[in-house]
Symmetry: C2
Subunit: 351 residues, 2 copies
């Protein structure tokens, strides 16, 4: 039993989409409302973030929208990213995100995951500077193949091992892992340089909850019950190689609520720590492991020093919170959160 | 090369949902417009069809809506169906549909597929009278199991074999087969008494087309590319054990277009033969096998005599047809057809 309020300290969501434009204005402040004060920001804007100037401008914008939040910035891996660029950029970014071409929102400028060799000089430099390679680990479907959304992640895993073997001290995060196979691959590699993030929604969903329910549709899609059980067990374990990265990915409602081709992404930021705490309670989780999964595992992997971190500390309090049905801005756009309408037993406070 | 107009003769869709109320009024006439004049009608109304009186009334209603169409009627298997009932009902129905409890629209009154033994006396009588057992072959998910929409059909297949072994001359149709495993199971049983239907939409879709696209969501869900290839190959082959059953299943748009829990079902009736002909052309299919898949295989399995069949014959003509975006009635309900907005090279004529 833990006593509440529970001090969690610095809280990390190591995979967050904050978009740009109106949506950015709407969701950026919700990161802090959802109990997170260190957020690793995805670079898949249009155009993708590949220059220091873009990073500076985007970070300044985010900080103006939410001054107490620490934003960790990233580049989008494509041909614009050169080893020379990283000599200067290393002071502005914490990592580089790689998307296999075509697998998810704004990933058409991505990389062929069967051949990373054109990027080996970049990876070499990243390894040297301690920059993190954040991988969206899905093998894209090719004409004639049998790759589907169900098999795309397991089929990608050999690439993870290849990259690690070639760059053994390059920090790699397999993002939003959805399968027992992914968890096992990271455990098998068993290196302090290779970790994985786990989202909140993948602790709740399977493919059964995705078909016919576009609100739950994201990439990678939720898989089987055995996969979900593996993710739950791993998150609850506090294992240092696994930490929270929600992949919170807001889309305007009209793009989620379509008959064909709904946008992929689940938005969770505004209720992030609240939902995770509820999950922990409902699964009789160890609250020390809660702090590991939500705070210390991520901080250690990203090697963030105390002095870089926000002053505020997050406290979990016992308080009934109802998740909004829909979150509006003042200009007519809105986003529907994961678990809209549900009631939770926890809220957060900053002290 | 075939010459058009191509006489197809009597055309069969051996799995059609015509619903009741306004939707029934809207879609029943579209069966003939879609080139079908023999339709096997599903009994999963609310309440399900389990009495001779219900069959008579429903059939009379359908005939009043579409006098030239031959409707083959069925019962819904539950505890109301007794061997004694079948002594009289055999003259009014062609078969009985079995739904595993809870797997699809209006199936909550269904059967536990792990234990058909309570229905063995009914199956015995069906075998005796030549009534067809139409099976929705999915194993429902149970708490703690790993059954998902992806594995539910393969997991059901041993039940098919068990039933056939126990009732070797009972006619069984594995409805809307979606997997290579299902095709192989039917081929392995290799009996003139065991067949499978194949839908039109499963010749086009995989799970990749279902996630995020509620219009393509049906049960069983479309599976992998290998599964789709197996279905395509089997349909094109003309193999007598496989024939068309579209599972055309209309839902009002507001029930398909939801963020969570969209209705399962793909509506195809109004463009059934037109889309199938386009598929055949695009896959360089043998037009003799087209007639087998669409006409003779089903007629033979259901043992329909020439004198029972409609007088009209279906002809396939070369004519550009654009599938409507949405099909309306005059009272405000509508249904969106599969492949809405696409253009086809074929239409049908009745002579």
């Amino acid at each position: 039993m833990s006593t509440f309020p529970l001090e969690i300290g610095t809280t990390c969501d190591m995979h967050v989409h904050l978009r740009d434009g109106q949506m950015c204005d709407l969701v950026t402040p919700t990161v802090r409302e959802g109990g997170i004060n260190v957020a690793y920001i995805m670079p898949n804007l249009q155009p993708p973030i590949t220059t220091i100037q873009q990073v500076k401008e985007y970070k300044a914008k985010l900080e103006s929208l939410s001054p107490s939040t620490k934003f960790l910035m990233s580049f989008y891996l494509n041909e614009d990213i050169t080893p020379e660029l990283l000599d200067e950029a290393k002071d502005y970014i914490h990592g580089i995100k790689v998307y296999p071409a075509g697998v998810t929102t704004n990933s058409k400028n991505g990389v062929d995951p069967t051949d990373f060799t054109p990027f080996y000089p970049v990876l070499e430099k990243m390894q040297q500077y301690g920059l993190v390679l954040n991988i969206h680990g899905e093998n894209p479907h090719k004409e004639g193949s049998n790759t589907t959304v169900m098999s795309a992640e397991p089929e990608f895993l050999p690439v993870l091992e290849t990259l690690h073997n070639r760059f053994p001290t390059l920090k790699i995060v397999l993002e939003h892992s959805t399968t027992a196979a992914a968890i096992n691959a990271v455990k098998k590699i068993n290196s302090p340089y290779v970790a994985a993030t786990i989202t909140i929604h993948h602790l709740f969903l399977t493919i059964d909850d995705v078909v016919g329910s576009p609100l739950n549709f994201c990439k990678p899609v939720a898989k089987t019950y055995d996969d979900k059980r593996a993710l739950i067990e791993t998150a609850l374990s506090g294992d240092s190689r696994f930490f929270l990265g929600t992949d919170s990915a807001p889309h305007i409602v009209c793009n989620k609520n379509k008959l064909l081709g709904c946008a992929a992404g689940v938005y969770v930021s505004k209720y992030c720590v609240q939902i995770l705490a509820q999950f922990w309670k409902d699964n009789n989780g160890d609250w020390n492991n809660f702090k590991k999964f939500l705070s210390s595992n991520g901080l250690k992997f990203y090697d963030l020093e105390e002095k870089e971190l926000p002053q505020e500390k997050c406290y979990l309090i016992e308080k009934k919170v109802q998740i909004e049905d829909e979150i509006f801005d003042n200009n007519g756009i809105s986003v529907i959160p994961f678990k809209a309408g549900e009631t939770l037993d926890f809220d957060v406070e900053w002290r």
